[in-house]
């Protein structure tokens, strides 16, 4: 269980990465925290000619705090967010979720951009970032483009990353003081991959209500106008408005047919809403 022989580069700028990955004469893989890629290399599921290590690039390791949003570099670790080294604009949502990702050893190295690009449907970031309405910024030879987090995962283990592109930052909107959120994941054991995730965020002052059902077979199911499952977001108990039947139908339309799968996913979302928090 050892990787194939590969070349290794650790550039210090995104431009250099873009030049290296443009070489289509050989198989190039970008590596951030290596918490998924490392095992895949060892199992020889990935057999690259060149690994481009992104963690030497300062731009990808910092964040910038704006008025309405915060930009988080792709190589910021889960632990950076958990430990509040990155300013929290989500009223506790991101640090709380980060704290539940796998184990601390994974969080110390695993990165937000790496997790999103690896595109595992069970990953926490896809669900909670979709719930808070975050976007990813991708940079390629032709410049930058911005994609909503829920659209970035095309399918299981497949991100909307075009040839020559690299994810550079995640943009997270600043939630208002009226915002509430919740997150519930069902795992067989601590730190294990989730079997069902429910996430939601409602921000009445900004007129936004989003609900997400994650850890499906593929991309998370996003209910972008979630007033039918959360109400207007101002009621003391948001779960009073929860319509499990409606969510069941949405899941069925999204291709989930197994009744027990639907039951657990509906329950995860309902429990996320029952646990509505505001900080």
């Amino acid at each position: 269980m050892k990787p194939v022989n590969f070349d290794y580069a650790r550039p210090d700028a995104v431009d250099a990465v873009i030049r290296l990955i443009a070489d289509d004469s050989r198989t190039v893989k970008m590596m951030a925290g290596s918490q998924s890629l490392g095992p895949m290399l060892n199992l020889r599921l990935v057999q690259p000619d060149l690994i481009v290590d992104l963690t030497g690039i300062e731009e990808l390791r910092c964040f910038s705090d704006g008025v309405d949003e915060i930009s988080i570099g792709a190589c910021v670790t889960h632990a950076d967010i958990e430990d509040l080294r990155v300013t929290d604009v989500t009223r506790g949502a991101l640090p709380t979720v980060a704290n539940g990702i796998a184990y601390r050893a994974v969080r110390n190295r695993g990165t937000i951009g790496g997790s999103l690009t690896h595109a595992d449907p069970s990953a926490d970031w896809h669900s909670i970032l979709a719930a808070v309405g975050a976007k990813v910024v991708l940079r390629g030879p032709a410049g930058e483009r911005t994609v909503a987090v829920e659209d970035y995962m095309v399918g299981a283990l497949e991100a909307d990353l075009r040839p020559g592109e690299v994810l550079v930052r995640v943009v997270v909107p600043r939630l208002s003081k009226s915002a509430r959120w919740g997150y519930y994941k069902s795992c067989r054991k601590t730190g294990e991959f989730a079997h069902a995730i429910g996430a939601f965020m409602t921000d009445p002052d900004r007129g936004i209500s989003r609900a997400v059902i994650g850890a499906t077979e593929s991309r998370p199911v996003v209910i972008a106008k979630a007033s039918n499952v959360i109400g207007d977001g101002r009621a003391p108990r948001l779960n009073d408005s929860f319509d499990g039947g409606a969510v069941d139908e949405i899941l069925e339309k999204a291709g989930m047919v197994d009744p027990l799968d639907k039951q657990t996913h509906v329950a995860a979302l309902r429990r996320a809403i029952e646990q509505a928090r505001s900080q």
Binding site: R188, L260, Q263
Partner: protein, 808 residues
């Protein structure tokens, strides 16, 4: 600095300070000084000059004919296949003497046919493991795929494909026992269930690994392998490599968990040995986790069709069972393919006394890796099956499960007791362990809580299981099995050093048993030497007496007994020299606190050792020429085994919407006879419990219909972690074993035996209001939800109008 002699929590049972290190003292483990600092030495830590690495080409298919093996010409000298080694090696053949057994030949490297995924086809050697894997990837094998025998029940049908064509069927061995079964048929209660346990992988933290080198000066193959049974590996290697045992030395360094897997002679060991004898440099193979999960350490897969007969008052009248064990492709060395299934027949009656019994077992061959004996061996599955049935009887009779146990457990006044299958239960008070365990929970309170319901909607359940465990069984038991290994007298060497230190040498090996601490405690009890000055030498065939090794919960009894016997012999020799130095007769002296004490003065053991080795001129001509060194064997007064036992109680809370099971309380009350070191026994129970919880709730090695294993990493093969294993409430009873030194009983495997039964009964107790039950391990959320769903559907079918009013 680590100082075991000043442990604050040890018992000073003699009041003189000395017993703080003796039998019964919770002395901190000597080996922890290196283990907890990360300074252990495992096979993977061994570096020899010029050492090269081996990777294997393994079969990707479960069942196929090998049509062709193509090796790129420039790599030919680095690759070895069956035809290269055929003249010098013999297949692994582990027979059983039980009548009707069909032997299998496990090829060292496969030829003609492969019978399991992961079977070795070629050995590739290179400077690094990565390069060896590159070579392995360049070897091409053409297969003609055959239908895979993937299910042990289908494998017994006449139309099944055959794993070993020459057999004519897929059964290693069928056994049958019938004791007065028909007398139970008039019982008013008859309950039948189909119960099964999943196939598992043993998953010790350290996998297997082998470093082999030919030692020119010693004219000897030296093979380092983390192993529980170094002498047995030497036997097996000698047979497979066709060389005499003088030319083989097995060294087992620190072992990071064994659980049975590290007793087995592997084809990899034979390959490395063969190569090291020819290549002129040391070679190494370190099993990786994928190899471990997919090609190696399978265990546990049982299937039971079981019927119990009982009277209305809960008295068990009889047990009738058909049991199958998926033994995999080959019979492994030394335990054979049949130990597990044949053991089911002899131990299914558990700790209960009843008059009628019938059991038929099949050891079935399939295209999976060989089944190996894992901590508890067949007992975990057997306990799960019989304990679920005891609860079914309780439910049928309207009794509490504990009441049914108390009606049927062997009673203390019956001890020692020969049970229905002629197992000789040596001692104990089984009902008392149950009563003490019950006292650690509030059963009435839990029943009231169940009636009331939980505020969070979860369902509470309580379940118990009781077992007894035969340990340290010896010659009389194993001679009957007829496998390549029969334990006889267990020997130990006790040898003083010139400065008064004591070396103990045993042929068993620790893979976590703490013997570097507990065996010095035994010697200390007799000789009074500070345990800091007693060193255990083990894990090396060159330095230790022959032993069948560490298995069957036998080391405390057998190695402990051998050390005690050798220490007593040594005491006589010490007293002989001491008496001379004190100028008195040996009848006038005693050995106390590390000194020989005479009527008026005393001499320390250090001085006695110094005299024997360094000042022989001070000794008389009549001195015993054995000096201060003894090798002697030990057998308990009766070798049918010790019977430790325990009651486990689990309290669970089930989330009926997600199927999650939480263990909210866990109780163990066990009787291991005299405990040499209670803290070590606690550790054994904690570790066993974790593995039992793994069996009950997490671990599952599934195969698809083509015989492909479906878990190749720990992402797919779930083990319980610290957050999944509750701190149990632990209670000890100490009924002395009648036939062993100090009354010690084997306890090593027990923790892993009872949890699936206790947790299974708790789960079914919780699900009873929904009419659901789970009869298969692991009890996953999915299986819980499916059981609830099935119960709801069956309610609808039976009485659609009634079902409306019941909880979903």
């Amino acid at each position: 600095m680590f100082e075991p002699s000043i442990a604050p929590d040890t018992d000073d049972k003699r009041g003189d300070g000395v017993a703080k290190q003796g039998v019964g003292a919770s002395v901190p483990r000597k080996e922890d000084d290196r283990f907890l600092r990360g300074r252990g030495e495992y096979v993977g830590d061994i570096r020899l000059p010029g050492m090269r690495d081996v990777a294997f080409v393994r079969s990707p298919l479960a069942h196929a004919r090998i049509k062709d093996i193509r090796i790129p010409p420039h790599l030919r000298s680095s690759v070895f296949i069956a035809s290269d080694i055929a003249a010098d090696t013999r297949p692994i053949r582990a027979v059983s003497g039980l009548p009707g057994f069909k032997p299998s030949d496990q090829p060292i490297l496969a030829f003609e046919k492969v019978r399991q995924v992961g079977e070795l086809i070629a050995m590739c050697v290179a400077d690094t493991r990565a390069e060896a894997e590159d070579i392995a990837a360049a070897v091409e094998v053409d297969f003609e795929e055959l239908p895979a025998v993937h299910d042990m029940l289908l494998a017994r049908r006449p139309d099944s494909a055959l794993v070993h064509e020459e057999w004519g069927d897929n059964v290693f061995l069928e056994t049958f026992v019938d004791i007065n079964m028909e007398a139970a048929y008039d019982a008013p209660i008859k309950i039948t269930r189909e119960i099964s346990t999943a196939r598992q992988s043993m998953a010790p933290m350290e996998g297997r690994g082998t470093v082999a080198v030919w030692h020119k000066r010693m004219d000897q193959l030296v093979l380092y392998t983390g192993n529980q049974q170094p002498h047995i590996v030497r036997n097996g290697l000698s047979e497979c490599l066709n060389i005499e045992q003088l030319k083989i030395r097995i060294v087992s360094p620190d072992v990071g968990g064994g659980f049975g897997y590290k007793g087995i002679v592997l084809t990899e060991d034979v390959c490395l040995g063969w190569l090291a004898m020819r290549c002129g440099y040391p070679v190494r193979w370190i099993e990786d986790r994928r190899e471990h999960l997919t090609a190696g350490a399978n265990c546990r897969e049982h299937h039971y069709n079981i019927t119990v007969y009982a009277d209305r008052d809960g008295k068990l009248r009889g047990v009738e069972c058909e049991a199958s064990v998926d033994s995999g492709a080959y019979s492994s060395y030394p335990f054979s393919a049949c130990l597990e299934a044949a053991q089911i027949a002899s131990i299914l009656p558990g700790p209960y006394d009843f008059p009628s019994y019938r059991c038929r077992t099949w050891s079935v061959s399939t295209n999976k890796c060989p089944i190996l004996p894992y901590r508890g061996v067949a007992r975990t599955g057997v306990c799960y099956a019989i304990e679920l049935m005891m609860d079914a009887i309780a439910h049928e009779c309207g009794l509490e499960p504990y009441e049914v146990r108390l009606k049927n457990l062997v009673r203390p006044e019956q001890m020692s007791f020969d049970n229905i299958t002629k197992k000789h239960f040596d001692s104990g008070n089984y009902p008392e362990s149950l009563r003490q365990a019950l006292a650690k929970i509030d059963l009435a309170g839990l029943r009231a809580r169940q009636k009331k319901g939980e505020p969070d909607g979860r369902l509470i359940g309580v379940g118990l299981s009781v077992y007894c465990e035969q340990g340290a069984h010896g010659t009389s038991v194993y001679a009957g099995w007829g496998i390549p290994m029969v334990p006889g007298h267990e020997q130990a060497t006790a040898r003083m050093t010139p400065d008064g230190g004591l070396e103990l040498r045993i042929g068993a090996h620790s893979h976590g048993q703490s013997m570097e601490t507990t065996l010095p405690q035994v010697a200390h009890e007799i000789l009074g030497i500070d345990i800091a000055r007693i060193k255990l030498v083990h894990g090396d065939t060159e330095y230790t007496p022959y032993s069948t090794g560490s298995w069957g919960s036998r080391c405390a009894v057998m190695s402990g007994g051998a050390v005690a016997t050798a220490s007593r012999e040594l005491a006589k020799l010490i007293k002989g020299i001491g008496a001379h130095l004190l100028q008195t007769d040996v009848e006038n002296v005693k050995l106390e606190n590390g000194a020989v004490v005479g009527p008026s003065n005393s001499v320390k053991i250090d001085e006695i050792a110094h005299t024997w080795y360094r000042r022989p001129q001070d000794l008389p001509a009549t001195v015993d020429p054995r000096g201060l060194e003894v090798t002697i064997g030990y057998k308990p007064a009766r070798d049918s085994g010790t019977f430790s036992y325990a009651t486990h109680i689990a309290v669970v809370a089930i989330d009926p919407e997600l199927g999650d099971i939480e263990l909210i309380d866990y109780v163990v009350v066990e009787d291991g006879g005299q405990l040499i070191n209670p803290m070590v026994v606690d550790g054994q129970i904690y570790g066993g419990l974790a593995q039992g919880i793994g069996t009950a709730m997490y671990e599952e090695m599934n195969f698809d219909t083509s015989g492909q294993p479906l878990a190749s990493t720990f992402a797919d093969y779930l083990l319980p972690g610290p957050t999944e294993v509750p701190a149990p409430k632990l209670g000890h009873m100490e009924t002395l074993a009648p036939y062993t030194e100090f009354g010690v009983k084997g306890i090593g495997e027990g923790g892993a035996i009872a949890p699936p039964g206790a947790i299974g009964n708790a789960v079914n107790d919780a699900l009873r209001p929904l009419g659901a039950q789970v009869l298969h391990t692991p009890m996953t959320p999915r299986r819980v939800l499916e059981a609830i769903q099935a119960a709801a559907e069956s309610r609808k079918e039976k009485a659609p109008e009634l079902a409306e009013g019941l909880p979903a």
